[in-house]
């Protein structure tokens, strides 16, 4: 898995760098002053309970300086796993932060005995939040590094059902080649007010151009995705922290690469999330994924999909 090695290497470099450390951490006094600034009165008891990842407080929220997420899902005979890390190296002020990240994936299709490892995707962007985290937007530009190994037919036959597992991250499963790929992402979240329960909504859109390797050589095409999510969060019951969220999530991939006129795929899933602690969120999800239009010959056209995701946060 050279891709994973590269990813880990880069992550270690970023995190271990003295400059990065300075950028991320600053000195303790400054950091405390930074976080203590918003008053509880303004933010409506936001300090009463941990800020829970997964259904509202993403990377860039107060205290959310490092996010490491690992996911594993399945569709048919495909198992796909992702690993990503995001870091806030610079906070321009309380509301606007710089974000860097890297991610990679691996997928295995049993019937073909094919394992697909993606090259890393590096992202750079800005995240902005409202004062009380009632909304949060994230805009990034990601670069997908090319993989020198050309995409074989088996790779493509593994890619497509892998995208059924996670259409939002289709780029991770494409056999990126040539000059790589550029992907712009806009990701917005908003939540309702509430102490014990609230609703959270998320809308994401990403689009870009990528060069993919195939038996025909390097081909360029559009890639993109849409995401919509609505969640109901139960933060407390009888003043006892519960920290559960139940969501419905729809993601559709818009990439132009899928053969045989296939459009999609679309995944409709129901994630159930739980944050036992401020530093960790866990999610299990299940649902159904299908191609909206077209017939992808010799490929899964629809099927049940399910998986789990674990996110850890390091609040610096």
């Amino acid at each position: 898995m050279p891709a994973v090695r590269v990813f880990v290497f880069v992550l270690v470099l970023v995190c271990a760098s003295p400059v990065s450390a300075q950028l991320m951490l600053g000195d303790a006094q400054h950091r405390d002053a930074f976080y203590d600034d918003p008053s509880p009165d303004t933010c409506h008891a936001a300090h009463d309970v941990p800020i829970h990842p997964g259904y509202f407080a993403p990377i860039g929220s107060l205290g959310r300086d490092v996010e490491i997420e690992a996911g594993l899902g399945s569709n048919g005979d495909v198992i796909a796993g992702t690993l990503s890390a995001r870091v806030i190296p610079v906070r321009f002020d309380r509301y606007l932060s710089l974000l860097v990240g890297a991610s990679t994936a691996v997928a295995h299709r049993a019937s073909l005995d094919t394992t697909l490892g993606s090259s890393p995707i590096f992202e750079l962007g800005l995240t902005a939040r409202s004062e009380c985290d009632r909304w949060n937007v994230l805009g990034t530009i990601a670069y997908a590094a090319p993989d020198p190994t050309p995409g074989t037919p088996h790779d493509w036959q593994t890619t497509i059902p892998s995208v059924l597992v996670d259409p939002w991250n289709a780029l991770l499963y494409l056999p990126v080649a040539g000059l790589g790929g550029l992907l712009a992402t806009f990701d917005a979240r908003v939540r309702t007010d509430g102490d014990d329960t609230f609703g959270a909504f998320r809308f994401g859109f990403r689009a870009g151009s990528v060069q993919a390797g195939s038996q025909y050589g390097v081909l360029a095409g559009f890639t993109g995705a849409l995401l919509f999510e609505a969640a109901f969060a139960l933060r407390r019951a009888w003043r006892v922290p519960i920290n559960l969220a139940l969501a419905v999530r729809a993601t559709v991939d818009l990439s132009a690469f899928w053969p045989a006129n296939a459009v999609g795929p679309l995944a409709l899933t129901v994630p159930l999330r739980w944050s036992p602690d401020r530093a960790i969120a866990m999610e299990i999800w299940g649902g159904y994924a299908l191609f909206l239009v077209g017939t992808a010959a010799d490929l899964p056209k629809a099927g049940w999909t399910y998986g789990l995701r674990v996110t850890t946060y390091i609040d610096l």
């Binding site: 088996h154 993919a212 195939s214 038996q215 025909y216 081909l219 095409g221 690469f257 053969p259 010959a297």
Partner: protein, 931 residues
């Protein structure tokens, strides 16, 4: 499918190109007519037969190759009106609205290569461009990727006298796999059920078509059926199989379902026997399918014999670059490993594998024939089929398979047929096994068999002049409208980039002014400028020493030479390749320098050669200087000339390469009685690819205008020729094939009808311009040629008549059409002129009165379109009947028409002989037949 030589082509796509149409109203049958003529003293049914067609090909190849449906949506089946293709197809891909670069690339590769094979570039068809462009592009006799057998067209053939139609299935599993684009597995694994499934679908479609038109056609399951159908005024449709890999059990199951004509061996070696080794592409295709028949071999290429009876040579096979079994993607091919190639012994009688050189290899030692005959299962199948009254076809069988089939048929006293192809000369080799050898044709005829003659046609072309080499002509485009609106159209220049106007277009003139050349034969091979590792055949040139060469004499010598050479397995430092293997600068004749561009009748001093590419030659290309010790010109039995050259075995240069060599060449020097002119361009590898016409672009077109020097003291002036086409060229200019894709290696050409009084020999130059609505581009063409051509329909009629007389004496009707329509086979490309109306009366019965077939109100003329749609077979017969060309005399014309209108009857009599209800001529198995 008739197998022409094809560049290694495997790939394409079309999903949803055809849809299930509503049933078309049955237009009703014509009144039955009993001919007045008797055949061998017996009454005969009237009409002609086509022994090989593919009415449902759009359902083959995973439904991704041929666009359009044979069934029609129109309310009326009108023999004069061809419905436009609907829905329109995408130019590059034959794929509906595919945004996937994977699909687009896969399909474009296949489309491009198949179109190159047909020398017909796909032009916009349908709504993406103005209607006129659609109509200029389709139908066309060289267009193999669109349905040519719509019901209207079949109806026209019927009203023109067709009474027997062999309706066959076909497919190619390898091609179908590649058409699926990126989704096939890394390793190609043939599926035993594929061919049977595909054949089932196609046969069901044919049955549906016949059932919807039952007033004028019906399926015949016996000769008696067929006779009754024809006597009722209808056309008899005979279900047929032409599949690659059906097992004998599959075949018999189809016979149980009404199939009455079987081609047991198609394009690959299968369980029944060995195929004709006649195309580069079919060798790897056969190998990829071989695991279905011989699991012990990862890939089994053709195993061949060397024979003086065949000229065709198989090259070093290509396979997928990932090794044996890996999918043969066009963009990812490479020659088989060199030791593997050596084990195939394709060159075993050549000097290549010998430590010392044989002194001489005559031309007649060079050919390849498939070493495999029919298997035991194949012979049993042939016997069983014949004994069940099923017609067995030797088309596509190799020489040995044909021999075994003939022996089997002779042993059971039943005849065979050869439904499509040609017959070799009485003496001398056949071009490839795909043509029946003369001796085997005689046996087939003597046994009571019949033949179908393909309608691909040839031109017997003779090149008037040619220019070649690198980026020969530089053309700058300007907007198309400027050419249409003003005479100051497009700037262009020859060998320079300066602008000019239409008053000074690119003008190409013969290199030797005033030279009367009978023929120049030039074969430019793209790839010569590339890596030698990518192609196992490279044309090089040799230098002939003046001694012993008949330069300057009156004896015609070679125009094309094939020469095999091989290095010792590595690139020799001394070996370099000329950039221009056809030297455009034109060295003096009889110069000791290499000469291979212009070969007149008396001035051949050089020849192109083919070099076998060494292993792992990583850069550069090859050429060498090979002293020739002796040269002998001989006259071949068919009138051609053979030049046999021998190298000096002691030559240091040659010894470096490992041996001696032989060259051969043949040419036919027939005078042109009534030639037309064909102007062609090869798009070389050195040229910039011209953008094709896509959904958002109209692409580019090249317009040409020949110049002629007419009369004493003439000057070379431009001819103003009305092409009769609504295209993008200004009046007086001729479009070279539309605005489709122009990939490197393409050939585009146009057939020009010279103004009255101008003869082909007076052509002295060619103006070229290029137009397009896209951004200005500069490009070049590798070879530009102007050739005189014979009228292909006249040639066909003459060949028909000669073959009939040769094989059947005075008996008419035993040669029918074998068009292979819709079988990826090109058809007649043009003719000198065809009648405006058709009203033939033969043997006391008459065809319908037919006008020109039209599409969207525009007339379809054979001279413009060639045999672009099946119904124009009627026009072909009417053209033969009218014999407008002086290449076809009245007596021959009459014999051909008389014979063709007996071909339905002869087909029935042949079938009766197969069934045993009519006595076959007594024959005994030839000596040498296996027991």
């Amino acid at each position: 499918m008739r197998s022409e030589r094809i560049v290694f082509v495997f790939v394409v796509g079309l999903v949803g190109c055809s849809s299930t149409p509503a049933a078309s109203p049955d237009p009703g049958g014509l009144p039955a007519c009993t001919p007045t003529a008797m055949l061998n003293g017996e009454p005969a049914v009237w009409g002609w037969a086509d022994l090989h067609t593919h009415p449902a090909t759009e359902l083959a190849f995973e439904q991704r190759l041929v666009w359009g449906s044979g069934l029609q949506h129109e309310d009326r089946i009108d023999p004069n009106v061809l419905p436009a293709i609907d829905p329109p197809c995408s130019v590059e891909t034959h794929h509906h609205d595919s945004g996937s670069p994977l699909d687009r690339t896969a399909h474009t590769l296949i489309m491009s290569l198949l179109n190159q094979q047909a020398q017909y570039l796909h032009a916009p068809i349908g709504t993406v461009t103005p209607r006129a462009a659609h109509l200029a592009a389709w139908p066309n006799g060289r267009d193999v990727l669109h349905q040519q057998m719509q019901l209207s067209s079949l109806r026209r053939a019927y009203e023109g006298g067709q009474r027997v139609l062999f309706a066959s299935t076909t497919d190619s599993q390898v091609l179908a796999q590649l058409l699926k684009g990126p989704l096939y597995p890394d390793l190609f694994l043939p599926v035993a059920a594929y061919d049977a499934d595909s054949a089932m679908v196609q046969l069901d479609r044919i049955r549906l078509m016949v059932s919807q038109q039952s007033e004028w056609m019906a399926i015949a399951e016996s000769a008696a059926d067929a006779r009754a159908i024809i006597q009722s005024g209808r056309m008899a449709v005979i279900l047929s199989l032409e599949m690659d890999s059906l097992s004998p059990e599959d075949v018999m199951r189809f016979v149980d379902r009404g199939v009455r004509h079987v081609i047991p061996v198609h394009l690959i070696d299968n369980a029944e026997g060995g195929t004709a080794a006649n195309g580069d592409i079919f060798n790897p295709e056969s190998a990829y399918m071989s695991s279905l028949f011989d699991p012990t071999q990862p890939l089994r290429f053709f195993e061949v014999d060397r024979t003086p009876d065949v000229l065709f040579l198989l090259p070093r096979p290509l396979i997928g670059a990932s090794g044996p079994g890996s999918v043969p993607v066009y963009a990812n091919l490479e020659p088989v490993a060199y030791d593997w190639y050596q084990r195939l012994q394709y060159d075993d009688t050549c000097f290549c594998s010998l430590p010392t050189a044989p002194a001489l290899h005559a031309w007649n030692q060079m050919g390849h024939a498939n070493a495999h005959g029919l298997s035991d299962a194949g012979r049993t199948l042939v016997r069983d089929l014949l004994q069940r009254g099923v017609m067995v076809d030797v088309s596509h069988m190799g020489v040995h398979s044909t021999e075994d089939a003939l022996c089997t048929a002779e042993s059971v006293g039943r005849p065979l047929l050869a439904s499509h192809g040609g017959v070799g000369p009485a003496a001398g080799p056949v071009g490839s096994e795909r043509d029946l050898s003369h001796a085997q044709a005689v046996r087939l005829a003597n046994g009571g068999g019949i033949l179908g003659l393909g309608t691909g046609g040839n031109f017997a072309e003779q090149t008037l002049f040619t220019q070649s080499g690198g980026s020969l002509v530089t053309l700058h485009t300007r907007r198309r409208s400027s050419m249409l609106e003003a005479e100051t159209c497009v700037e262009s220049s020859l060998f320079s980039s300066s602008d000019a106007t239409c008053a000074h277009p690119v003008t190409i003139t013969p290199p030797i002014a005033g030279t009367t050349m009978q023929r120049i034969d030039v074969r430019f091979v793209p790839g010569a400028g590339g890596s030698c590792a990518s192609n196992d055949r490279l044309y090089a040139q040799i230098t002939l020493t003046p001694s012993g060469i008949p330069c300057g004499g009156a004896t015609p010598t070679i125009v094309q030479a094939l020469f095999a050479a091989q290095t010792d397995g590595s690139c020799l430092a001394s070996v370099t390749m000329p950039v221009d293997l056809i030297d455009a600068s034109g060295p003096p004749m009889c110069d000791t320098r290499a000469v291979s561009r212009s070969f007149g009748a008396a001035d051949v001093c050089g020849a192109g050669i083919v070099m076998v590419n060494p292993l792992d030659c990583s850069g550069g290309t090859l050429t060498t200087t090979i002293p020739i010790a002796s040269a002998t010109v001989s006259v071949l039995d068919d009138g051609g000339r053979a030049l046999v050259l021998a190298t000096a075995t002691g030559s240091p240069t040659w010894n470096t390469l490992g041996g001696g060599a032989g060259l051969y060449g043949r040419m036919q020097l027939d005078p042109l009685a009534d030639p037309g002119v064909m102007i062609g361009i090869d798009v070389s590898n050195t040229g910039i690819e011209i953008p094709g016409a896509g959904p958002s672009s109209d692409g580019y077109d090249v317009c040409v205008r020949p110049r002629a020097c007419h009369g004493a003291g003439c000057t070379c002036t431009a001819l103003v020729i009305d092409s009769g086409q609504d295209d993008d060229c200004a009046p007086g200019w001729i479009s070279l094939n539309h605005r489709g894709d122009w990939p490197a290696g393409s050939q585009v050409n146009a057939y020009v009808h010279l103004p009255s009084g101008i003869v082909a020999g007076e052509i002295c130059g060619l103006d070229m311009v290029m137009v397009g609505d896209g951004p200005p581009i500069t490009t070049g063409f590798g070879v530009v040629t102007v050739q005189s051509i014979h009228d292909p329909i006249s040639l066909w009629a003459n060949e028909y008549d000669a073959t009939r007389a040769d094989l059947f004496g005075t008996e008419p009707g035993r040669i029918a059409f074998g068009t292979d329509m819709n079988g990826l086979a090109t058809q007649f490309a043009t003719t000198l002129s065809s009648p405006e109306t058709i009203d033939m009366s033969v043997h006391g019965c008459a065809t319908s009165h037919l006008g020109r077939m039209t599409v969207d109100g525009q007339p379809l003329r054979l001279e413009d379109r060639g045999l672009g749609t099946y119904g124009m077979l009627t026009d072909v017969l009417a053209t033969i009947d009218a014999h407008p060309s002086s290449d076809l005399d009245a007596a021959t014309s009459a014999r051909v028409i008389d014979s063709m209108f007996f071909s339905a009857e002869q087909t029935l009599r042949f079938w009766e002989r197969v069934e045993g209800t009519r006595a076959s001529p007594p024959v005994t198995p030839a000596a040498g037949c296996r027991p």
